[in-house]
């Protein structure tokens, strides 16, 4: 099915759709499990020695959850996407091999081995199903899964765990290097435009959060959770559209502000930017301002705030970091607002409603095609 190229309707299968699909699959393994991440994040924020209510007994759950439960849930979900319940079971088994082979949270490893083993089991089932004698379905089904699962866990332990661990170390060192050299705000140059193209979940849940979790497990918090999820730039842009945007867009902006900033559904501001693509500059500058503020004040979050609502942000902010976190959000919103307001005023002087229609058509063509 994935090779199918629609013949009509003007839809293409461009690079962006492929990238979205890959990212969507990564995010699809994580997002259904966000509730477990929140439980873990709250336990961490409350009960670790530097938390609000230090409690050694409750804090003892923090490690097993991040190292075992969360990767297994990811491996389970990744397997389920590929091959239903059987895929979920074998994905979980194999993930255990990856986990015990390393000493860091194995999110990326689980994202690889869960779907991989489910796919292998799917191929095995295709071969075995037609030749299974009646009455032997359960025996063969259980043992094929059990044996393949055992081999998968061994593969994870010997190959995938150490490989992903090495890759995580290299990527983590790269991020650390960017932090040490104050280069992290440059990340906004990639992150903000990618968000607008609906790669937001792919970037956050597929790339940044798995790296952030490794850092948070060592140091108690990570700035990587904040690169994509900061609701400040979107807030500034929406306020600018409300006050200075094309008339047709102004009416819906206040509702969008509430849904974006309080509800955390960032998708709602992407269409506004797509209709006035120059506003992407406001998102980049606002995003970079936020990251710079977070970096200078040395703040981080204990878990990924999902959805990226101000409430989720405050819930996963560790004790003592609230000032820096709020400052970063406010400054990024302010910078985005000023830049977006200026750009909208600039484009307004020569834009009539007819131009707006044309701009809409143009951005529509750009979005759908994207090859």
């Amino acid at each position: 099915m994935s090779e199918f190229i629609p013949s009509g309707g003007g839809s293409h299968t461009g690079w962006r759709a492929s990238l979205q699909k890959l990212g969507g699959n990564l995010a699809g393994m994580v997002i259904p499990n966000i509730g477990a991440f929140i439980a873990w994040g709250l336990l961490t924020a409350l009960f670790i020695p530097t938390g609000w209510l230090p409690n050694e007994s409750f804090a003892s759950m923090v490690g097993p959850m991040i190292l075992n439960l969360l990767p297994i849930l990811i491996g389970y979900t990744g397997g389920r996407i590929v091959h239903g319940q059987r895929g979920a079971v074998i994905g979980s088994i194999a993930t255990v091999g990856v986990i015990v082979g390393t000493d860091i949270p194995m999110f990326l490893g689980a994202m690889i081995i869960g779907p991989l083993l489910a796919w292998i089991l799917k191929q095995i089932d295709k071969v075995l199903d037609p030749i299974t004698p009646p009455g032997f379905e359960m025996l063969i089904g259980n043992f094929s899964l059990g044996i393949a699962g055992m081999l998968g866990a061994m593969l994870g332990y010997l190959a995938i765990g150490p490989t992903v661990s090495a890759i995580s170390t290299v990527l983590g060192n790269g991020v650390q290097w960017m932090v040490d050299n104050s280069l992290l705000p440059i990340a906004s140059l990639i992150v903000e435009p990618a968000k607008i193209l609906f790669l937001n979940n792919a970037i956050n849940h597929g790339v940044l959060a798995p790296l952030g979790v490794v850092e948070a497990e060592e140091t108690g918090k990570s700035i990587l959770f904040m690169l994509e999820t900061n609701p400040g730039p979107g807030l500034g842009i929406l306020v600018a559209f409300w006050l200075a945007g094309p008339k047709i867009l102004r009416g819906s902006a206040p509702g969008a502000i509430i849904i974006h900033f309080l509800g955390g559904i960032h998708e709602i501001y992407f269409p506004y930017v797509l209709m006035k693509p120059q506003v992407i500059l406001a998102a980049i500058l606002g995003g970079a301002t936020g990251v710079a503020t977070f970096m200078v004040t040395g703040v981080g979050l204990v878990a990924t705030p999902s959805p990226g609502s101000i409430f989720a942000y405050l819930a996963v902010t560790p004790q003592g970091d609230h000032l820096g976190v709020l400052l970063g959000i406010v400054l990024s919103a302010a910078v985005s607002f000023v830049v977006a307001w200026f750009l909208l005023r600039l484009s307004k002087s020569d834009a009539s409603d007819a131009d707006f229609g044309e701009a809409k058509a143009k951005s529509a063509a750009m979005k759908t095609g994207g090859k």
Binding site: G255, I265, E267, T368
Partner: protein, 104 residues
Amino acid sequence: MAEISAADVKHIVVACEAGMGSSVMVAKQLAKQLKPQGITVTHAPVNQLADTPHEIVLVHRGLSARAKQAVPESVVVIFDMFLGDLNMAKMVGTLQSGGVVTDG
């Protein structure tokens, strides 16, 4: 070009990346508007559209290529804005007053 008569529409599915965020929001709004027509509005991740019963898929333009790829035979209605979208309103109007809903 897929098309369907309004009278035959019983299920609409709104798709987004994860099937848990923006699609839920849009689905809730539509469900209220289309309740008198007896149309159920659900939500799903764009990757799992094929497993979700529907006559019409509603999706943001940014994900429309993937929706068409996932369910090439279905009517895929595209919107640009999550609030106050004209194309979405047109579809709702057609479903309420009768007519034919087509791709786009």
